[in-house]
């Protein structure tokens, strides 16, 4: 893994100096949470089982940064590096592909975790939401979710034809996945049919794990199996489809 620490450092600096992606990963989720909380407050409401709006939504909001990292940040970052020829430049060094991938994933993982934890802290410290019953469990669930989305992100990076497509398709995909997280629409108020459809979204299952740890209950095994399957399948696809260069 020669070059791994240097590459992590370089990717980190590159990322924090890019204001748009920095905003979306670190600021977007807490900002939206703050705006919605200021609009709806956090008073107990019957539709949320006598819990407040933020109490109900916060577990889902922790997942938003995870979604942004997987669907937008990872593919866009890689496509831009590939389109500019930067990946080709790395390829003619002795750098091993696995070192590049490990460094990239390390930085994206850290950004996703920071975004999720920031949203959590804003909810807890800013709006008085109770601490999760299993804080470590919540963090592990977010980390598991990030691994899932990173695997999906690497596959998308190989499939998107260019950075513009990554932005366009990624935005659509991000909205759909966010909707299924429970952050914007409480899943409890949805019909059985819509809830069944949501179960096809990996983000629904990530939110389910976060929610379970938040409430102190065991992880739903069905969600664990779905996410583990997604990680395995998309890691294989991402590895198989990974490319340094634009198509010739």
């Amino acid at each position: 893994m020669r070059g791994y620490p240097a590459l992590v450092s370089a990717f980190f600096k590159s990322q924090v100096r890019e204001p748009v992606s920095f905003f979306f990963v670190i600021i977007f989720s807490p900002a939206v949470l703050t705006i919605l909380a200021l609009i709806f407050g956090n008073d107990p409401a019957p539709q949320f089982g006598m819990r407040g709006f933020v109490d109900q939504m916060l577990p889902g909001f922790t997942v938003i940064s995870v979604v942004i990292v997987g669907v937008m940040l990872v593919p866009q970052n890689q496509l831009l590096l590939r389109a500019s020829g930067a990946l080709t430049r790395l390829r003619i060094t002795p750098l091993k592909p696995r070192t590049y991938v490990a460094a990239d994933l390390t930085v994206q993982f850290c950004f996703g975790m920071v975004g999720a934890v920031t949203a959590l802290l804003v909810g807890i410290l800013g709006f008085g939401v109770d601490w999760p019953k299993q804080p470590l469990g919540v963090l592990v669930a977010v980390a598991f979710g990030l691994l899932t989305m990173l695997a999906i992100g690497y596959t998308l990076a190989a499939l998107y034809p260019n950075p513009a497509a990554a932005t366009g398709i990624g935005n659509g995909l991000m909205v759909i996945l966010m909707m299924t997280s429970g952050a914007f629409i409480p899943t409890a108020v949805l019909s059985d049919g819509v809830q069944a459809a949501f179960k096809f979204s990996p983000v629904y299952h990530i939110a389910a794990l976060v929610d379970a740890s938040w409430n102190g209950s065991a992880w739903p095994w069905g969600s664990v199996v779905v996410l583990a399957g997604v990680v395995v399948v998309f890691t294989a696809l991402g590895t198989l489809l990974f490319k340094w260069d634009r198509a010739r």
Binding site: R2, A6, A10, S14, S84, A86, R89, I92, P94, K96
Partner: protein, 304 residues
């Protein structure tokens, strides 16, 4: 030892023969130029040499290694500057060079390298904020950080101003003086003439001539070039009958007449006899431009 050996290398993209049967040997310790118009196959050939692409057929050997199968070994001994000079965005000069240094087991020290290339004052500046010439010097630094014996430089000076170009040529001459082998691609005749010890002219994926600049001119373009601009249109074919004229072409608004001996006064006399005014005239000794013209029947800048 030869730095590069290509044997019957082909690279086809569908029906397009980007590299079409190249046989080439590049000896060490020299600047070797691959000269050709845009789209002639220079970069595609260079990609085969650097292990960035696999030939459709034929064999490539660089420093005695197979660029595809022995990619990592070759990467330790070869430095590259790609046509699209770019790296991880938003890094400063020093950060980029230090990052690349970390990929190699043995490297030069960063600060003296930056000083050698005149980049010390820019070490803390982001690469995208540098001028074209400064950026290219950064990419030379990235190519040199591991002290390679062989450098591949693709269109290094195509996007830099003339002053920066001269400065980069000095850097390359210094590198040759240190005993390195440098392979450059260029579509600039002036660059090839000023810099290269040997030149291969590539056109439509084929090497159509190879040698020193003097050899190429002696072999393919001995003679004189008369460039004219006239007040009225001239049929190039009509001038080909003038004694001593060997080729007549148009290069933009110029009429380019190549010939041997005292053909110029005869051309002027013929134009005067036809009452065609000559508004501008320039006589040049043979150059690489003439070599290309004679070999392909068109000027380099006409491209494909």
């Amino acid at each position: 030892m030869n730095a590069v050996i290509c044997r019957e290398v082909h690279r086809h993209f569908g029906d397009v023969r980007a590299v079409d049967g190249v046989d080439l040997t590049i000896a060490g310790h020299q600047i070797f130029g691959l000269l050709g118009p845009n789209g002639s196959g220079k970069t595609t050939l260079l990609n085969q040499l650097q292990g960035l692409d696999t030939p459709t057929s034929g064999t490539v050997e660089v420093l005695g290694l197979d660029p595809i199968r022995q990619r990592e070994q070759l990467a330790l001994r070869m430095g590259s500057q790609l046509q699209e000079s770019t790296t991880i965005p938003r890094l400063t000069v020093a950060e980029a060079v230090k990052t690349f240094a970390a990929f190699y087991p043995q490297t030069r020290e960063v600060d003296p390298l930056l000083a050698e290339l005149g980049l010390t004052p820019k070490a803390g500046t982001r690469i995208e904020r540098l001028s074209g010439g400064q950026r290219q010097r950064v990419f030379i630094a990235l190519a040199l950080i591991h002290d390679p014996e062989l450098l591949f430089l693709d269109e290094l000076t195509s996007a830099v101003d003339p002053q920066a170009r001269l400065a980069i040529w000095d850097v390359l001459r210094d590198l040759r003086g240190q005993g390195r082998t440098i392979v450059i691609t260029t579509h600039s005749m002036a660059e090839a003439e000023a810099l290269c010890d040997r030149i291969a002219i590539i056109d439509h994926g084929r090497i159509i001539a190879e040698g020193t600049c003097a050899e190429l001119i002696a072999r393919h373009a001995s003679g004189t070039t008369l460039r004219l601009q006239t007040g009225a249109p001239v049929d190039p074919e009509s001038l080909k009958t003038v004694d001593g004229v060997t080729a007549v072409t148009r290069d933009g608004s110029d009429l380019v007449i190549v010939g041997q001996g005292q053909f110029s006064p005869k051309v002027m006399a013929k134009l005067a006899a036809e009452s065609i005014e000559v508004t501008s005239m320039n006589i040049q000794e043979a150059s690489l431009e003439d070599v290309f013209l004679n070999l392909t029947g068109r000027a380099m800048r006409e491209g494909e």
